[in-house]
């Protein structure tokens, strides 16, 4: 009896501890921010990885780049480099570095000097120069730089002065600066690398990172959290918050609940429709058109898809509007071009390919395709930002195409063999997409639709059009934006008319947060940044 009486107040007091009004945060919670990330980072060096989770966790927080891309101005802006100029017809770029940039001081490293040219050369050579001491550390693979061809484009990086470097290119390439502004081209500390080398622990460079970014690395516990603290010596205006924690929460439902209970301040990839139905006034959902596109590629090396008229007819035959509503639940906009409308080189579609089965039938008749024609649609087996459900999309297209008398068989394989078979050109048509790494329009054209990409297998349409290739090469050989815009516009017109692939949708990227969180904007390109993060709490 006594036990019972004694236990009740304890229970009640335990429960009441949690009861505090929502807005009164204890002091440590006012000074920090919790971001509930969707997974563990692979490491702490964005040079070595491509996964968005790792980029979000590291790039903008720990490091800086030579230059940044300002999406609102659509221009490159100074970061670690104060100025830069293209020399020798765009084959040599000279960068002047800031001299007031300090590397992180942590309990495992104290820098003795500020950033200088040696750090930049060390950072570039890490992925560029296969003979560099640190190149093989961690496996020696740098997928971003290999995929964009930056490791073949750059000939060498030369020190001109203590705070001046030259990057010598093998040929002029106007997408070069865009690649330098990506999350991957970060600057590491040569002094720290040297210290680790002496201690015979070079692998720590990617596990206990030192950078120049707005936050310093504190601790990482796999499956639980990453902890960062504000870099007090940051060279530009840093964040309001003193601590930043990544609370690792792979389960999307739990992420949402943790946002509702206030355990997360910001979450990525929220379940938007469920969150809205919970009707939580203090939660804000933000969205941004992200630089991706999902498309329907026709294998132009197979008959009858080599005929542009057939491709146009098929484009008229499917109801893109209805498909987008059914697959994306309103979280995507219909694509007019492969380029998203946020790009400076975007051009509206001249032929809209509005759903018109009769016109499609007429065009097919003209091309000699009789009713009962059979074809395959390859639907990718995985979810991607640009397409959450390719198989369902293929089914909807199947029924649309049946209306014009075409029988569709849907084909799908495990993701890796799916891509391998696509590269071999086994498909008739395929539903797949593309996600851009940087703001340069070239990133949407050359990897997707050039003749060279047919050979490497990333041109899903196997479309090699010499005239189109010529335009692309002209566009990267010049740095004049007006001229480039003109060239890309004519490239898009050509695509619009030839339809080697039919762009379907640009999907949105979402983020949900407490309404008192400020300065955490969804970046159109690259990973999330907390450089301006703060909390606006009513006092």
């Amino acid at each position: 009896m006594i036990n019972l009486r004694a236990s009740l107040p304890i229970l009640l007091s335990l429960i009441s501890i949690g009861c505090s009004s929502e807005r009164e945060l204890p002091e440590p919670l006012q000074k920090g921010l919790v971001y509930c990330s969707e997974g563990n980072p692979e490491g702490f060096n964005p040079q070595r990885i491509t996964s968005g989770t790792t980029v979000d966790a590291t790039a903008a927080q720990l490091y800086d780049r030579l230059i940044d891309y300002d999406a609102s101005e659509q221009a490159f802006v100074p970061a670690l480099a104060t100025e830069w100029q293209a020399l020798d017809d765009g084959t040599r770029y000279r960068f002047k570095l800031r001299d007031d940039v300090a590397f992180h001081t942590t309990n495992f490293f104290t820098p003795s000097r500020n950033l200088n040219a040696d750090d930049v050369i060390f950072s570039f050579n890490r992925w560029l120069d296969s003979t560099a001491l640190y190149h093989p550390v961690g496996g020696g693979s740098y997928p971003f730089f290999t995929a964009t061809g930056l490791d073949r484009l750059i000939n060498r990086v030369v020190k001109v002065g203590p705070h001046t470097i030259d990057i010598v290119l093998n040929n002029a390439d106007s997408s070069f600066l865009a690649n330098l502004a990506t999350d991957f081209a970060v600057i590491l500390s040569a002094e720290y690398a040297h210290k680790l080398d002496i201690a015979n622990q070079p692998e720590l460079i990617d596990q206990q990172p030192i950078g120049t970014g707005p936050f310093r690395f504190e601790a990482y516990r796999k499956d639980y959290y990453i902890r960062y603290s504000r870099n007090p010596d940051y060279w530009r205006e840093g964040p309001d918050i003193e601590h930043l924690v990544y609370s690792i929460t792979p389960n999307a439902n739990k992420r949402m609940l943790k946002l509702v209970t206030g355990e997360c301040d910001v979450i990525p990839y929220p379940l938007v429709s469920k969150l809205r139905s919970l009707n939580q006034a203090q939660i804000e959902v933000k969205s941004e058109v992200s630089p991706n596109v999902s498309f329907w590629a026709f294998n132009t090396q197979k008959k009858p898809f080599d005929n542009p008229q057939v491709r146009q007819a098929l484009s008229y035959a499917i109801n893109r509007r209805a498909i987008i509503d059914a697959i994306y639940y309103g979280s995507a906009e219909q694509a007019e071009s492969v380029l998203p409308p946020t790009s400076w080189a975007f051009r509206e579609a001249q032929i809209n390919y509005q759903y018109d089965p009769e016109k499609a039938r007429a065009l097919l008749d003209e091309a000699g395709i009789t009713a009962g024609f059979e074809m395959t649609i390859w639907a990718m087996p995985v979810q991607r930002v640009y397409n959450p459900n390719a198989r369902r999309m293929a089914e909807l297209m199947q029924s649309d195409l049946a209306q014009v008398g075409i029988n569709v068989r849907i084909v799908s394989y495990e993701w890796n063999s799916f891509r391998r078979r696509l590269s071999r050109g086994e498909h008739d048509t395929a539903l797949i997409g593309w996600y851009a790494d940087n703001a340069d329009p070239d990133n949407f054209f050359r990897p997707l639709l050039s003749c060279a990409a047919v050979a490497t297998g990333s041109n899903r349409a196997n479309w090699c059009h010499p005239g189109f290739d010529q335009i692309l090469l002209q566009a990267i050989a010049t740095t004049d934006t007006a001229e480039r815009r003109q060239l890309y516009r004519s490239a898009q017109d050509l695509l619009n008319q030839q339809v080697p692939l039919l762009p379907i949708a640009h999907s949105m990227r979402y983020q949900a947060q407490q309404d008192f969180v400020t300065g955490v904007e969804l970046p159109p390109y690259g990973g999330i940044s907390f450089r301006r993060a703060g909390k606006e709490l009513a006092q």
């Binding site: 004694a6 335990l14 949690g18 204890p26 440590p28 920090g32 601790a219 516990r221 639980y224 609940l257």
Partner: protein, 342 residues
């Protein structure tokens, strides 16, 4: 009593020894290199040769087992294949985190189950008894994971009183030194200890309540049934005949005797709670040994799987041992049952 303790101790050590033998042979049953499975050091690395020698890789099974045991006792439990962190360090932390909620939940279960069971017995077949029993049957039938979802929905999502994951808000910057968050706060140099304790306790409420629910209901039913049985004994009739009110009969004579049976069941209940802890820890992201084991199984992290199994089983054995010793000391009849004398 000494004889009893030595006897129990021998059983405990024997069981522990069998456990190490089993765990030793697990290294052969797991796919891959045996030394890697034991130490978490991969074959292609420089450290492998050293580890191979340290664990007697080129000797026979018996010598290898001796080395294995030596490493085990020296707490050289190898490294996780996934994180490359020392297994013992992570293991001891997760163990403490589990021990923390497990002990508190057991305490809560005793505080709820025993008094309610006694109450029920005192009013045997009265409306109060029937209410309590139906409550117990209901509580007993609710699966742990469902109860957890229900409580989360009510207390965390609707009322927003309680948090749902982890031991403490990570912004308190409490380093996991021991693994038990209450101890860690005490050891930390945080300037916000009081607020940190509040936050940590709030984080504990739901896992503990969920973990305690099943054992509390079990204890309640056991307590009620045993007490009712004892109430039929002649000595109870005797005290009643002397005019003691029913309430005091139960409290002073029946309950203390019923406790003996309850204690006997505690070992079983403890094992049950350990099994439930695995589920509860996964639901509430409690960094305990259960969720550690689950993740290790998903990652095929053999050194960790081994360590987690060892710790879990050893804990059960040790708890069993302690309960028996206590019972032997508290209730001489237990010793007599075994030896015919005290």
């Amino acid at each position: 009593m000494t004889r009893f303790i030595i006897n129990r101790l021998l059983y405990f050590v024997l069981a522990l020894w069998l456990l190490t033998v089993f765990s030793f042979f697990l290294n052969w049953l797991f796919p891959g290199d045996v030394i890697t499975n034991m130490s978490g050091i991969r074959v292609a690395t420089e450290a492998y040769g050293e580890e191979f020698a340290l664990r007697g890789g080129d000797t026979n099974l018996f010598v290898q087992y001796a080395y294995y045991l030596q490493n085990l006792i020296n707490l050289n439990w190898g490294y996780s294949l996934v994180t490359q962190q020392p297994v013992w360090l992570e293991g001891s932390r997760t163990f403490m985190a589990t021990a923390e909620i497990l002990l508190l939940a057991l305490l809560l279960a005793l505080l709820i189950g025993v008094p309610l069971g006694a109450l029920s017995a005192a009013w045997y077949k009265a409306p109060l008894d029937k209410t309590i029993v139906s409550f117990a049957v209901g509580g007993y039938s609710i699966p742990v994971f469902w109860l957890a979802q229900l409580l989360i929905l009510f207390f965390a999502v609707n009322l927003r009183w309680l948090p749902i994951t982890g031991q403490i808000d990570p912004l308190y910057l409490i380093e996991p030194q021991t693994g038990s968050v209450l101890l860690d706060i005490a050891l930390s140099d945080s300037a916000y200890k009081a607020s940190a304790y509040q936050n940590a306790l709030a984080h504990m409420v739901l896992p503990i309540v969920v973990l305690a629910s099943l054992p509390a209901m079990l204890l309640l039913r056991m307590m009620r049934n045993t007490t009712v049985e004892i109430m039929q004994q002649p000595y109870i009739k005797a005290v009643r005949a002397r005019g003691l009110p029913p309430y005091r009969v139960v409290m002073q004579h029946a309950v203390p005797n019923a406790m003996q049976g309850i204690l006997q069941q505690l070992t079983f209940i403890f094992g049950l709670m350990l099994a439930n802890a695995v589920i509860v820890e996964s639901i509430f992201n409690w960094p305990g040994i259960g969720s550690w084991l689950l993740k290790a199984i998903l990652d095929r992290d053999y050194p960790v799987i081994q360590a987690a199994l060892l710790l879990l089983v050893a804990t059960t054995l040790f708890a069993n041992f302690l309960f028996e010793i206590y019972r032997g000391w508290r209730f001489p009849i237990v010793r007599e049952e075994r030896y015919g004398s005290a």
